[in-house]
């Protein structure tokens, strides 16, 4: 099997905000491959955002190196890295300032120095993707929180970067808002083979949408692997002060009744139970004693 191309290579990176403060990143090494859909998971202050900010050069490692698509960030400015790594901030209100939705989305590509027809083509495409095409002339501040969040994502998508970092995309959104933004990101990842890094502490969205999980605690990476195995590994999560999702814990408690210990979502659990009770011989026989 061919090793997938490395999109971001983090090599022994340490970072400290003040010389006498503890390390915010402590010799972190991480390889993110092209097409990865990855969650940086951890509690507040674990170093997730600090790590992600080295991807586009907003923070320069105190020691170690970061390269993006083979380019060492030490040799690049933030504005030139912006073409490779799109970084979407947690709060859309930290970036929205234009009079119309389409002007807002055009800000990034315009900064990259693209010709006007290319800019408008990209803006249209990005707004189409996030479902704001019919609001392109609307006043951004009058949009709802979920729509502003989508606009912030669109304005980064429009820059056409092959890597996208999204910091806490679901904060303050209701379940519908979360679903639509995560579905959008998943589609974008799958259809256009782009790399996405999501910074989050929300286990449920990780379990439901994101295939690879990197767990951070105290500036270190404590676990890295497929989401299913990471999130069902209570011991590994405990080092970061986290627990598996509730439904996974329920499944693990019921393990001696044959419930698989790596159930990630309620839907998976329902599917399993449905099979167990309605016919599938395998599942039925795996429930010893039919004690339910």
């Amino acid at each position: 099997m061919v090793e997938p191309e490395v999109a971001i290579d983090v090599n022994e990176v340490s970072y400290t905000y003040e010389p006498d403060m503890p390390l915010a990143l402590d010799h972190v090494s991480l390889q993110i491959h092209k097409g990865d859909f990855l969650a940086l998971l951890g509690q507040n202050g674990a170093g997730k955002t600090t790590l992600a900010k080295t991807f586009n050069g907003l923070l320069r490692p105190t020691s170690g190196s970061v390269s993006v698509g083979g380019l060492d960030i030490r040799n690049a400015t933030v504005s030139s890295l912006a073409a490779r790594v799109g970084y979407c901030y947690q709060n859309p209100d930290h970036q929205i300032f234009n009079r119309t939705v389409s002007m807002e989305a055009a800000f990034g590509p315009h900064n990259l120095g693209l010709p006007p027809n290319e800019v408008s083509a990209r803006v249209d495409h990005a707004l189409q993707l996030v479902g704001l095409a019919d609001k392109k002339d609307a006043y951004p501040f009058l949009l709802g929180k979920g729509e502003r969040q989508k606009l912030a994502v669109a304005s980064v998508l429009a820059m056409g970067s092959s890597i996208l970092v999204v910091d806490e995309p679901t904060t303050g959104l209701d379940i519908q808002g979360i679903r639509s933004i995560m579905t959008l990101l998943r589609q974008w990842n799958q259809s256009e083979e782009r790399t996405i890094v999501i910074i989050t502490h929300d286990l449920r969205i990780v379990a439901e949408y994101i295939p690879r999980t990197v767990v951070m605690a105290q500036g270190k990476i404590v676990a890295d692997g497929p989401t299913r195995s990471i999130l069902s590994d209570g011991a590994a999560l405990a080092t970061a002060g986290l627990k598996p999702p509730q439904i996974t814990r329920v499944a693990q408690r019921l393990n001696h009744h044959g419930v698989p210990p790596d159930v990630m979502t309620v839907d998976e659990m329902l599917e399993y139970l449905h099979n167990a009770f309605s016919g599938s011989e395998d599942a039925r026989s795996s429930l010893p004693g039919r004690s339910f």
Binding site: N56, T77, I96, F97
Partner: protein, 267 residues
Amino acid sequence: MPVGYSIYVERPSYLHKRIDPRTKLFALCTSFVLALLFNNPAYLGILLAAVIAIGLWARLPLKSFRAYLLFALWFLILGVVIWPFYIHQGSVVLQISGVQFTSDGLLFGLAMGLRVALMVTAAGVWMMSTSPQHITLGLLRLGLPYKAGMVMSSTIRFVPLINAERATIIEAQRARGLDLKRGNPFQRALRYVAVIGPMLVRTLDMAQSLALAMEARAFGARPNRTMITEIRLTRVDWYIVIGCALLIAAAIALRVLGIGVLVRGYL
């Protein structure tokens, strides 16, 4: 010059802990009046030295005055360059293509610079030795309406928060390819729209949240408020106030007599 919340320097000094903020405010006003009553650089220089001496007595580090004095230095240079064009009394020191520079003109420019230095440094000592809470409390006791006092202290409190917002916004826009360092100053200023826009929205947002939170906790429900920290004018405070009043009276008398005045007819 340092701005905002960080001006106050906590020190265990008599000036910090024992003197009422109202007294300090009156002393500050006195220094302003004295600064305006004299225009002889020697007198203003002595007053500036006195203000710095008070600051050192309050155990403020010497280097904390540097920012204020450097700020005033610009006015000093500006004064020395500009005033000789207007003040023609005194002996001619040098002549450049028909324009005469007199000694009094130069000295008057120096005096104007020292005047700014005096006022700025006095204000600095006042702010470095009086915590924002005490400044507000003093003004409230002087009759400032409570809501206005609240506006004042929350303004000071929000400076570091808004500064943090500004840093975040700049990062977010740089991540979108905004380069604030490229181009000429005019182009750079225009690019700051991308920072100022979200900042305005965020500050309005924060102000609204604060107002809501305060109303939710019954802000303004009672007309008269009590304070956690009480302030009281002591005998020493009254001595200082009387001393300051006498200083002002004496300075006015000197002004009338023409002492300490280098150029008559100018403030």
